[in-house]
Symmetry: C2
Subunit: 502 residues, 2 copies
C-alpha cells in the first residue's frame, strides 16, 4: 500500500495510454482524427513543394466496426529510408522552424499507425516516392510501443515507371463511421472552402463520390522560415544558441541569431541591460544569461515580429469562398495586421455572413473556425472565438434575437496556441482575444450598417406600397380635374422605375 | 523549400515546445499549474500512506515576476536514489495500476522543474525522506531537456534527527502572481471543502496566512489496485499480457489476468467466440488475438467493473462541506452507482445548493467541478458538466431566471477522461454525460420539491398576512355580536401557534 514503483515510459507508451490527448477518444472521434491527420499531411506535402494538391481518399468498411482509410497525394514524398521513422515513431517530425504549417507536433501520422495497431493489430501500408525518384518504396509498418521504434514488417522497391511522387497510406482502424460521417464531410467541405487551389476526390463508406475541383491555379505562398524574435526567448533556447555560437561578441551574436536585431538595436538593447557588446557570448555567467533573457522579453524597442513566415487566407478568398458555399445576403471580411504573442507572430481573419438560404436561424451565431487553414470542428465552447462571441451584445449591432448569422474565424501563426494535441480549440491568450474582438467589431459594424439599410429599405418599401395603393386613385382624380380623358400609367412610379423601363 | 529535415524529439523537448498542453500557458496560469502540481503530489504522498495530510505552502516574491514556491508535506517520501528521476525526468512516474489517484501522467512535477529552469535558469531544491529513514536526501536538480535526463547540481545526506518523512520542494518560477492569486486561493478552498481530514497552511505572496484545520481524523480509503476489466482491452495490452503469460490454457489465462472472469464466465465467453479453452495462450495466431480482443469488448455477459478501486467523496461529506462553506438554504447530494466507460469504472457525484448568503445570483448556475477530489478551475465551458447544465430546462424545475443555484460535480475514476494533460476539463464520453444528466435530474427534482414548498409557504404567508390584518376586526365584530365585552387575543392564530405558546 505505501510503496510506489517507478518506471520510465516511452513517448509512444505515454500517448498509447493517453491517446485522448491526441484526439483518439471515442470510436467516432478516432476515425475522424485519423482521417484528418493523414489528409493534413497530404496538404502539407503538396503545398511545401508549390504543387496544387490533388488528393484522393476512400473510406471502406473492412469488417464490422473496422474501416480502411486509403489516401494518396501528389506531394513531394518522403525519402524511402526516412519512411519508417516518419510514420512509425512518435515525436519524430519535420525540423522545427519558425514557419506556419498545418501539423507541427510530429504526432498525427504515427498516432494513427499506433491506433490502427492497437485496435486491429494490422500493419499500415505506405507507398512513397520523392520527385525524380526511380523507385517507389513500399512499407508495411507497426510500432514497438514500449521502445518507440518502428517495426518494418515488409519492404520492397517498385520501379517508378510513371514518375509518380507523393505519399499513399492505407490504414485500418476500428471506428464508428456512422457517427463520424457528418464530421468527416464537414471537414472536407470546410477545407475546400479555404483551398480553392486544391482538387479533392472522396469516396465515402457508402460508396458516394464527392469531388471538389480546383478553381484557381495559384498555390498559396508558404510562409518563409525565419529566425526567432527576441520576445518569447527562454533560457533553454538561449543556452542552445550559445552552445553553438560562432560569434565572438554579444552584439554580433544577437544580430546573427534573432530577427529584427540590427547593430543599432543590439547596442541600444545591451546598453539598457548593462552588458558589454564586445563580451564573448560563450563566457556569460548564469546571472548574465538570465539578465539577457529577461531583458530581451521586456525591452520595448524591438520591432514587431516578421510576418513573411505567415500565410493568411485573404479577404477576397474568404468572401469568394463564403459567397459560393453559404450564398448569404451580406458578407464582409477582414484580415488584421500581424501581431505577436510571446514572440510568435499571428494574423487574425474574421468574416461575417448574414441571411440567405444556407445559414440557419439561431439565437447564437453559427461559427466556422480555422487555424492555419485547418477547420476546427470539435470543442467549440472552449475556443477563444466562442468566448469573444459570448461577450458581444449583438442587439447593439441590430442583430435580431434569432438571426441567420455566420462568423468565420481564422488564425494564422507559426505557433497556434492549441489547447490540446488534438488541435481542436484555441486558447484565450490575451493578445489573440483582443485581436479577435477588434476584428469582430469591425465586421459587426459593417453588418450594422447593412442591417440599418435593410431596415430603412423595409420602411421605404412599406411607404411605397401605400403610394402604390393610392396612386391609381390620385391619377384618376387628377385626370378628371384636368379634364383629360386618358389616365396616365402610374405603376412604374411605385416600382421606382422610369417610364418605359421594364 | 522542398526538402524537410527530420529528427527525433525527447519527451522533455516535446513538452518544452508544447508546454501549454501541460497547463504551462500564460505567466498566471503557469504559476497556478506549478502550485497545484506540487500540492497534488503532496496529497497523494500522504493519502497513499494512510496519513492525514499536513501540508505547508508559501509563495514569495523573489525578484520582479519571479516567485518561489515552497511546499513541505508529511507523506511517505520518495527513496533518495529515486528522487532525480522522479522529479527531473519526464514521463517517469508511479507504476500504472488500475486505481484512482490525483496525478497519473508522470508529468506534473517534472514539468514544473522544467518550467522553472527555462524561465529562471535555477535548479529546484528537493528534500525527501521515507518513513524510518536515517537520513534526509537533499538535491538541487535541473533537466537535460534534449536528452530527458536529470542533472544533479548538488546532493547531500543530512541526518534525519526528528524522524521526518515526506517531500519538500522549493522551486522558482516566472509568473504573474497578481492574476494567479484568486485561482490559487480558490483552489485551496475548494480542496479543503472536500478534504476535511487534511490540514493546510498557506502563506500567500502578500504575507497573509490561511489555515484550514482538519475536522475529521479518518483518511479516505484509497481505491485498491485491481486487474483490468475485459471491456476496453486493446491488442497492445493483450500482447503484453500474452508475452509474460505463465498459464498453459486460454481459460486459465483469462481468469488470472482479468477481473470479473471466473471459470464459468471464461468458458462461456470462449465458446461464444469459438476459441478452444485449452488452447495455449502463447500460440494464438494474429487473427485469433484480434478475435479475442474484439470478442472481449463486445461480449455482453461480463459483470460490471469492480469498484473497490474507486474512492467517492460521499453524500454526507459533500453536504457537510457545502453547508460549512456555502451556507445554503437548501442542499442535496447524490452518489450514483458505479458505471464504466471503455473498461474504466467511474462514479458520478452531484450536489445542488440553493439560496443563502454565499451563492451569487446569476442566470447560470455556479459550477464547482472535481475529478478524483481535484478542483478543476479552468476551461469550464469545455467540460461535460457545463454541457449537461446547458441542456437543462431549469424552468421545469421551478428555478427562477436569476437564481442563487450552485452545482457541485465530482467524477471518481481510475482513468478520468481529461481533455488535456493540463487536467482542466472532462470530455463528454456518452456514458459519463448520461450519468451526470441522471444525477442532476435526481437533485433537480428534489430542488423542485423544495422550491414548490417555498412557493406554497409564500402563498400561505401572504394569505396569513391578510388574516392577520382583518382578524382583530373580525374578533371585535364577533365580540360585539355575541354581547361579550372583552375581545379575545387573536395574534397567535395568525402566527400559526396554539394559545399560550410564545
Amino acid at each position: 500500500m505505501s510503496k510506489v514503483e517507478f518506471r520510465q515510459l516511452s513517448p509512444a507508451d505515454f500517448f498509447y495510454r493517453n491517446r485522448e490527448l491526441a484526439g483518439f477518444d471515442t470510436p467516432a472521434k478516432s476515425l475522424y482524427t485519423a482521417f484528418r491527420e493523414i489528409i493534413e499531411n497530404s496538404f502539407d506535402g503538396a503545398e511545401i513543394g508549390g504543387i496544387n494538391p490533388d488528393i484522393f481518399v476512400t473510406i471502406k468498411e473492412r469488417s464490422e466496426d473496422v474501416y480502411t482509410i486509403f489516401i494518396s497525394d501528389n506531394g513531394i514524398g518522403i525519402p524511402g529510408n526516412k519512411v519508417p521513422n516518419a510514420l512509425a515513431k512518435l515525436l519524430f517530425g519535420g525540423k522545427y522552424v519558425e514557419r506556419q504549417s498545418r501539423g507541427h507536433f510530429g504526432l498525427g501520422a504515427s498516432m494513427t499507425v499506433l491506433y490502427s495497431q492497437i485496435t486491429t493489430n494490422l500493419p499500415t501500408r505506405v507507398l512513397s516516392a520523392t520527385r525524380g525518384s526511380k523507385v517507389i518504396d513500399e512499407y508495411h509498418l507497426m510500432i514497438d510501443i514500449q521502445r518507440n521504434e518502428p517495426i518494418v514488417r515488409y519492404h520492397q522497391q517498385i520501379p517508378n515507371k510513371k514518375n509518380w511522387h507523393g505519399v499513399a497510406v492505407e490504414v485500418n482502424i476500428e471506428g464508428d463511421y456512422r457517427r463520424a460521417h457528418n464530421k468527416i464531410l464537414d471537414y472536407i467541405k470546410a477545407t475546400a472552402l479555404v483551398a480553392p487551389y486544391a482538387t479533392i476526390t472522396f469516396i465515402d463508406a457508402y460508396g458516394i463520390l464527392y469531388r471538389f475541383n480546383k478553381v484557381i491555379d495559384e498555390v498559396p505562398k508558404l510562409g518563409e522560415a525565419v529566425l526567432p524574435h527576441p520576445y518569447g526567448i527562454d533560457t533553454e533556447k538561449m543556452l542552445r544558441l550559445l552552445r553553438i555560437a560562432k560569434q565572438r561578441s554579444l552584439a554580433k551574436f544577437l544580430q546573427s541569431n534573432f530577427q529584427r536585431v540590427g547593430e543599432k538595436t543590439a547596442l541600444a538593447f545591451l546598453k539598457s541591460i548593462e552588458l558589454k557588446p564586445e563580451k564573448d557570448p560563450r563566457k556569460l555567467t548564469h546571472d548574465e544569461i538570465v539578465k539577457l533573457v529577461q531583458g530581451m522579453n521586456n525591452y520595448e524597442d524591438f520591432l514587431a515580429p516578421e510576418t513573411k513566415c505567415l500565410s493568411p487566407i485573404g479577404e477576397e478568398v474568404l468572401i469568394a469562398g463564403i459567397t459560393k458555399e453559404l450564398q448569404p445576403d451580406f458578407v464582409t471580411a477582414i484580415t488584421r495586421k500581424p501581431r505577436a504573442y510571446g514572440g510568435h507572430p499571428f494574423i487574425i481573419e474574421i468574416a461575417m455572413a448574414y441571411g440567405g438560404p444556407n445559414i440557419e436561424v439561431s439565437s447564437e451565431p453559427t461559427l466556422f473556425r480555422y487555424a492555419n487553414r485547418i477547420p476546427l470542428l470539435y470543442d467549440q465552447y472552449a475556443d477563444v472565438a466562442a468566448k469573444v462571441i459570448r461577450s458581444f451584445n449583438w442587439r447593439m449591432y441590430k442583430v435580431p434575437e434569432n438571426a441567420k448569422l455566420a462568423i468565420i474565424t481564422h488564425i494564422a501563426s507559426t505557433k497556434v496556441p492549441y489547447r490540446t494535441a488534438g488541435k481542436e480549440s484555441i486558447s484565450d491568450r490575451p493578445e489573440i482575444e483582443r485581436e479577435m474582438r477588434l476584428a469582430m467589431q469591425v465586421c459587426a459594424r459593417k453588418l450594422r450598417v447593412y442591417l440599418s439599410r435593410v431596415e430603412r429599405e423595409e420602411r421605404i418599401a412599406k411607404r411605397t406600397s401605400i403610394f402604390e395603393k393610392y396612386m391609381p386613385y390620385i391619377a384618376q382624380f387628377a385626370t378628371k380635374l384636368s379634364g383629360a380623358t386618358k389616365v396616365p400609367p402610374v405603376d412604374f412610379i411605385a416600382r421606382g422605375r422610369k417610364e418605359g423601363e421594364e
